[in-house]
Protein backbone atom coordinates (compact mmCIF):
# COMPACT_ATOMS: atom_id res chain seq x y z
CA UNK A 1 0.00 0.00 0.00
CA UNK A 2 1.25 3.50 -0.80
CA UNK A 3 2.06 5.86 2.06
CA UNK A 4 -0.05 9.00 2.48
CA UNK A 5 2.71 11.32 1.19
CA UNK A 6 3.26 9.06 -1.84
CA UNK A 7 -0.48 9.03 -2.57
CA UNK A 8 -0.58 12.80 -2.25
CA UNK A 9 2.39 13.19 -4.56
CA UNK A 10 0.80 10.94 -7.13
CA UNK A 11 -2.53 12.79 -6.91
CA UNK A 12 -0.80 16.14 -7.32
CA UNK A 13 1.19 14.83 -10.27
CA UNK A 14 -2.00 13.49 -11.81
CA UNK A 15 -3.78 16.81 -11.35
CA UNK A 16 -0.83 18.69 -12.81
CA UNK A 17 -0.75 16.35 -15.82
CA UNK A 18 -4.47 16.87 -16.29
CA UNK A 19 -4.27 20.66 -16.10
CA UNK A 20 -1.23 20.78 -18.36
CA UNK A 21 -3.00 18.51 -20.81
CA UNK A 22 -6.04 20.78 -20.91
CA UNK A 23 -3.85 23.89 -21.22
CA UNK A 24 -1.92 22.32 -24.11
CA UNK A 25 -5.18 21.34 -25.85
CA UNK A 26 -6.52 24.89 -25.51
CA UNK A 27 -3.25 26.33 -26.81
CA UNK A 28 -3.09 24.03 -29.85
CA UNK A 29 -6.75 24.14 -30.87
CA UNK A 30 -6.85 27.94 -30.65
CA UNK A 31 -3.75 28.18 -32.86
CA UNK A 32 -5.32 25.76 -35.34
CA UNK A 33 -8.40 27.99 -35.35
CA UNK A 34 -6.27 31.02 -36.17
CA UNK A 35 -4.56 29.18 -39.05
CA UNK A 36 -7.92 28.06 -40.47
CA UNK A 37 -9.35 31.57 -40.17
CA UNK A 38 -6.41 33.03 -42.08
CA UNK A 39 -6.72 30.32 -44.74
CA UNK A 40 -10.39 31.26 -45.13
CA UNK A 41 -9.27 34.80 -45.94
CA UNK A 42 -10.10 36.51 -42.65
CA UNK A 43 -7.74 39.33 -41.75
CA UNK A 44 -5.01 38.93 -39.16
CA UNK A 45 -6.83 40.88 -36.43
CA UNK A 46 -9.98 38.85 -36.84
CA UNK A 47 -8.04 35.58 -36.86
CA UNK A 48 -6.23 36.63 -33.67
CA UNK A 49 -9.56 37.42 -32.02
CA UNK A 50 -10.86 33.99 -33.03
CA UNK A 51 -7.75 32.43 -31.52
CA UNK A 52 -8.30 34.27 -28.24
CA UNK A 53 -12.00 33.52 -28.17
CA UNK A 54 -11.52 29.85 -29.06
CA UNK A 55 -9.46 29.38 -25.92
CA UNK A 56 -12.67 29.71 -23.93
CA UNK A 57 -14.67 27.19 -25.96
CA UNK A 58 -15.07 24.79 -23.03
CA UNK A 59 -15.38 27.45 -20.33
CA UNK A 60 -18.75 26.04 -19.24
CA UNK A 61 -17.06 22.84 -18.10
CA UNK A 62 -16.05 24.61 -14.89
CA UNK A 63 -19.60 23.89 -13.71
CA UNK A 64 -19.58 20.20 -14.65
CA UNK A 65 -18.50 17.74 -11.95
CA UNK A 66 -15.00 16.34 -12.46
CA UNK A 67 -16.35 12.87 -11.75
CA UNK A 68 -18.29 13.06 -15.00
CA UNK A 69 -15.78 15.05 -17.06
CA UNK A 70 -12.93 12.71 -16.24
CA UNK A 71 -14.87 9.44 -16.20
CA UNK A 72 -12.60 6.88 -17.81
CA UNK A 73 -15.39 4.80 -19.36
CA UNK A 74 -18.53 5.27 -21.41
CA UNK A 75 -20.98 7.89 -20.17
CA UNK A 76 -24.53 7.12 -19.12
CA UNK A 77 -27.31 8.98 -20.91
CA UNK A 78 -27.76 11.18 -17.82
CA UNK A 79 -24.03 12.00 -17.72
CA UNK A 80 -24.05 12.83 -21.42
CA UNK A 81 -26.93 15.26 -20.88
CA UNK A 82 -25.03 16.91 -18.04
CA UNK A 83 -21.84 17.30 -20.10
CA UNK A 84 -23.77 18.71 -23.05
CA UNK A 85 -24.98 21.47 -20.75
CA UNK A 86 -21.46 22.99 -20.74
CA UNK A 87 -22.13 24.76 -24.04
CA UNK A 88 -25.07 26.75 -22.70
CA UNK A 89 -23.41 27.36 -19.33
CA UNK A 90 -20.30 28.72 -21.02
CA UNK A 91 -22.41 31.04 -23.13
CA UNK A 92 -24.34 32.29 -20.14
CA UNK A 93 -21.13 32.98 -18.23
CA UNK A 94 -19.38 34.76 -21.09
CA UNK A 95 -22.11 36.74 -22.82
CA UNK A 96 -23.19 40.30 -22.24
CA UNK A 97 -19.83 42.01 -22.00
CA UNK A 98 -18.78 44.94 -24.13
CA UNK A 99 -15.62 43.10 -25.11
CA UNK A 100 -15.52 41.79 -28.69
CA UNK A 101 -13.35 38.84 -27.75
CA UNK A 102 -15.67 37.72 -24.93
CA UNK A 103 -18.75 38.16 -27.12
CA UNK A 104 -17.15 35.93 -29.72
CA UNK A 105 -16.06 33.50 -27.01
CA UNK A 106 -19.68 33.28 -25.83
CA UNK A 107 -20.81 32.38 -29.35
CA UNK A 108 -18.07 29.78 -29.74
CA UNK A 109 -18.85 28.29 -26.33
CA UNK A 110 -22.50 27.98 -27.29
CA UNK A 111 -22.09 26.65 -30.82
CA UNK A 112 -18.87 24.64 -31.12
CA UNK A 113 -20.78 21.35 -30.82
CA UNK A 114 -23.32 22.23 -33.49
CA UNK A 115 -22.99 20.26 -36.70
CA UNK A 116 -23.27 21.36 -40.32
CA UNK A 117 -26.10 18.83 -40.83
CA UNK A 118 -28.08 20.21 -37.89
CA UNK A 119 -27.59 17.16 -35.67
CA UNK A 120 -25.40 18.83 -33.08
CA UNK A 121 -26.24 20.48 -29.77
CA UNK A 122 -27.45 22.52 -27.94
CA UNK A 123 -29.71 24.17 -30.51
CA UNK A 124 -29.50 21.86 -33.50
CA UNK A 125 -28.51 24.74 -35.77
CA UNK A 126 -27.31 23.84 -39.23
CA UNK A 127 -25.12 25.23 -41.96
CA UNK A 128 -24.53 28.99 -41.89
CA UNK A 129 -26.89 29.51 -38.96
CA UNK A 130 -23.90 28.35 -36.92
CA UNK A 131 -21.55 31.32 -36.44
CA UNK A 132 -18.43 31.00 -38.63
CA UNK A 133 -16.07 31.26 -35.66
CA UNK A 134 -17.82 28.27 -34.05
CA UNK A 135 -17.59 26.26 -37.29
CA UNK A 136 -13.86 26.97 -37.31
CA UNK A 137 -13.46 26.10 -33.63
CA UNK A 138 -15.33 22.82 -34.17
CA UNK A 139 -12.79 21.54 -36.68
CA UNK A 140 -9.84 22.74 -34.61
CA UNK A 141 -11.26 21.22 -31.42
CA UNK A 142 -12.10 17.84 -32.92
CA UNK A 143 -8.75 17.53 -34.70
CA UNK A 144 -6.83 18.23 -31.52
CA UNK A 145 -9.11 16.00 -29.45
CA UNK A 146 -8.51 13.12 -31.86
CA UNK A 147 -4.75 13.51 -31.87
CA UNK A 148 -4.28 13.75 -28.12
CA UNK A 149 -4.44 10.72 -25.87
CA UNK A 150 -7.26 10.57 -23.34
CA UNK A 151 -7.68 8.55 -20.19
CA UNK A 152 -10.19 6.31 -22.00
CA UNK A 153 -8.50 5.97 -25.40
CA UNK A 154 -5.20 6.26 -27.18
CA UNK A 155 -4.51 9.18 -29.49
CA UNK A 156 -5.34 8.74 -33.17
CA UNK A 157 -2.37 8.76 -35.46
CA UNK A 158 -2.15 11.76 -37.74
CA UNK A 159 -3.43 10.29 -41.01
CA UNK A 160 -6.54 8.61 -39.49
CA UNK A 161 -7.33 11.87 -37.69
CA UNK A 162 -7.06 13.84 -40.93
CA UNK A 163 -9.24 11.25 -42.64
CA UNK A 164 -11.91 11.63 -39.95
CA UNK A 165 -11.94 15.40 -40.45
CA UNK A 166 -12.19 14.87 -44.22
CA UNK A 167 -14.99 12.35 -43.71
CA UNK A 168 -16.93 14.91 -41.68
CA UNK A 169 -16.94 17.42 -44.55
CA UNK A 170 -20.53 18.49 -45.21
CA UNK A 171 -22.00 16.40 -42.38
CA UNK A 172 -20.27 17.25 -39.13
CA UNK A 173 -18.27 20.19 -40.46
CA UNK A 174 -18.65 23.15 -42.78
CA UNK A 175 -17.13 21.99 -46.10
CA UNK A 176 -15.35 25.32 -46.63
CA UNK A 177 -13.76 25.13 -43.19
CA UNK A 178 -12.58 21.56 -43.81
CA UNK A 179 -11.15 22.62 -47.17
CA UNK A 180 -9.31 25.47 -45.48
CA UNK A 181 -8.05 23.15 -42.76
CA UNK A 182 -6.74 20.64 -45.31
CA UNK A 183 -5.24 23.37 -47.50
CA UNK A 184 -3.38 24.67 -44.45
CA UNK A 185 -2.32 21.18 -43.34
CA UNK A 186 1.40 22.00 -43.45
CA UNK A 187 0.89 25.02 -41.16
CA UNK A 188 -1.38 23.03 -38.85
CA UNK A 189 1.26 20.31 -38.54
CA UNK A 190 3.94 22.92 -37.89
CA UNK A 191 1.86 24.29 -35.01
CA UNK A 192 1.30 20.77 -33.72
CA UNK A 193 5.01 19.94 -33.82
CA UNK A 194 6.09 23.18 -32.19
CA UNK A 195 3.55 22.93 -29.37
CA UNK A 196 4.41 19.29 -28.70
CA UNK A 197 8.08 20.20 -28.42
CA UNK A 198 7.23 22.91 -25.89
CA UNK A 199 4.96 20.75 -23.75
Amino acid sequence: MMSAPATKTRLLAGTEDLLLGIAAHIDRMSRYAEVIARQLGLDADCARTIRGAAKLHDFGKIAIPQRILLKPGPLTEQERLVIERHAVIGHQLLRGSTCELLDMAAEIALSHHERWDGRGYPRGLGRTKIPLEARIAAVADVFDSLTRGRSYRAAFKLQPALELIRAGRGTHFDPDVVDAFLAAEAKILRVRRSRRERS
Binding site: R67, Q78, L81, V82, R85, I89, G96, R123, L125
Partner: protein
Protein backbone atom coordinates in the same frame (compact mmCIF):
# COMPACT_ATOMS: atom_id res chain seq x y z
CA UNK B 1 -60.41 25.08 -7.01
CA UNK B 2 -57.59 26.11 -9.30
CA UNK B 3 -54.02 26.02 -8.20
CA UNK B 4 -53.03 29.44 -6.81
CA UNK B 5 -49.78 29.28 -8.78
CA UNK B 6 -51.53 29.07 -12.10
CA UNK B 7 -52.50 31.76 -14.60
CA UNK B 8 -50.37 34.62 -13.51
CA UNK B 9 -48.18 37.11 -15.28
CA UNK B 10 -49.67 36.57 -18.71
CA UNK B 11 -48.73 32.93 -18.91
CA UNK B 12 -50.79 30.54 -21.01
CA UNK B 13 -51.53 26.89 -20.32
CA UNK B 14 -49.02 25.17 -22.62
CA UNK B 15 -47.43 21.79 -22.05
CA UNK B 16 -43.93 21.33 -23.46
CA UNK B 17 -41.08 19.07 -22.46
CA UNK B 18 -38.51 20.86 -20.36
CA UNK B 19 -35.23 19.85 -18.79
CA UNK B 20 -33.37 21.65 -16.03
CA UNK B 21 -29.87 21.69 -14.63
CA UNK B 22 -28.95 23.36 -11.36
CA UNK B 23 -25.53 24.18 -9.98
CA UNK B 24 -26.51 22.73 -6.60
CA UNK B 25 -27.29 19.37 -8.24
CA UNK B 26 -24.72 19.37 -11.04
CA UNK B 27 -24.72 15.62 -11.67
CA UNK B 28 -28.30 15.46 -12.92
CA UNK B 29 -30.51 16.89 -15.60
CA UNK B 30 -34.16 16.95 -14.50
CA UNK B 31 -36.98 16.27 -16.92
CA UNK B 32 -40.42 17.78 -16.65
CA UNK B 33 -43.09 19.74 -18.47
CA UNK B 34 -44.29 23.29 -18.58
CA UNK B 35 -47.75 23.81 -17.14
CA UNK B 36 -47.89 27.42 -18.21
CA UNK B 37 -45.57 29.41 -20.38
CA UNK B 38 -45.00 33.13 -20.78
CA UNK B 39 -42.31 35.31 -22.32
CA UNK B 40 -40.95 36.24 -18.89
CA UNK B 41 -41.30 32.94 -17.09
CA UNK B 42 -43.12 29.67 -16.68
CA UNK B 43 -44.88 27.36 -14.29
CA UNK B 44 -43.04 24.08 -14.55
CA UNK B 45 -43.54 20.60 -13.13
CA UNK B 46 -40.08 19.28 -12.17
CA UNK B 47 -39.72 16.30 -9.88
CA UNK B 48 -36.80 15.79 -7.49
CA UNK B 49 -35.49 19.33 -7.74
CA UNK B 50 -33.64 20.26 -4.56
CA UNK B 51 -35.35 22.85 -2.34
CA UNK B 52 -32.09 24.79 -2.50
CA UNK B 53 -32.08 24.88 -6.29
CA UNK B 54 -32.58 28.54 -7.10
CA UNK B 55 -30.77 29.26 -10.34
CA UNK B 56 -31.70 26.92 -13.16
CA UNK B 57 -30.49 26.32 -16.64
CA UNK B 58 -33.60 25.40 -18.63
CA UNK B 59 -34.13 23.83 -22.00
CA UNK B 60 -37.70 24.24 -23.22
CA UNK B 61 -38.52 22.16 -26.27
CA UNK B 62 -40.26 24.70 -28.46
CA UNK B 63 -41.28 23.29 -31.84
CA UNK B 64 -38.42 23.42 -34.34
CA UNK B 65 -35.65 24.34 -31.96
CA UNK B 66 -35.25 24.27 -28.20
CA UNK B 67 -35.04 27.44 -26.17
CA UNK B 68 -32.19 27.57 -23.66
CA UNK B 69 -32.60 30.09 -20.91
CA UNK B 70 -31.30 30.72 -17.43
CA UNK B 71 -34.02 31.22 -14.86
CA UNK B 72 -34.61 31.78 -11.16
CA UNK B 73 -37.09 29.93 -8.99
CA UNK B 74 -39.48 32.51 -7.58
CA UNK B 75 -42.18 30.29 -6.10
CA UNK B 76 -42.79 26.66 -5.29
CA UNK B 77 -45.90 24.60 -4.79
CA UNK B 78 -46.84 20.97 -4.43
CA UNK B 79 -46.59 18.66 -6.21
CA UNK B 80 -43.26 19.44 -7.87
CA UNK B 81 -44.44 22.79 -9.22
CA UNK B 82 -42.03 25.68 -9.55
CA UNK B 83 -42.56 29.13 -10.94
CA UNK B 84 -39.49 30.39 -12.72
CA UNK B 85 -38.59 33.83 -13.94
CA UNK B 86 -36.41 33.93 -17.05
CA UNK B 87 -33.21 35.92 -16.55
CA UNK B 88 -32.67 37.21 -20.01
CA UNK B 89 -33.91 36.07 -23.38
CA UNK B 90 -32.37 37.81 -26.37
CA UNK B 91 -34.71 39.76 -28.62
CA UNK B 92 -34.87 37.15 -31.38
CA UNK B 93 -35.61 34.26 -29.05
CA UNK B 94 -38.10 36.34 -27.09
CA UNK B 95 -39.96 37.14 -30.31
CA UNK B 96 -39.94 33.45 -31.28
CA UNK B 97 -41.26 32.47 -27.84
CA UNK B 98 -43.91 35.20 -27.92
CA UNK B 99 -45.10 34.15 -31.35
CA UNK B 100 -45.33 30.52 -30.27
CA UNK B 101 -47.31 31.42 -27.15
CA UNK B 102 -49.62 33.71 -29.10
CA UNK B 103 -50.47 31.07 -31.71
CA UNK B 104 -50.44 27.97 -29.50
CA UNK B 105 -53.75 26.14 -29.30
Amino acid sequence: MSDPLEHRDGRRAISLDVSAWALVQPERVFSGTTVELGVDGALVRLAHLSPSAYELNLRIDLPGRPLHVSAKVVERGPPDLVVVSFDRVDAYERARLGEFIRTAR
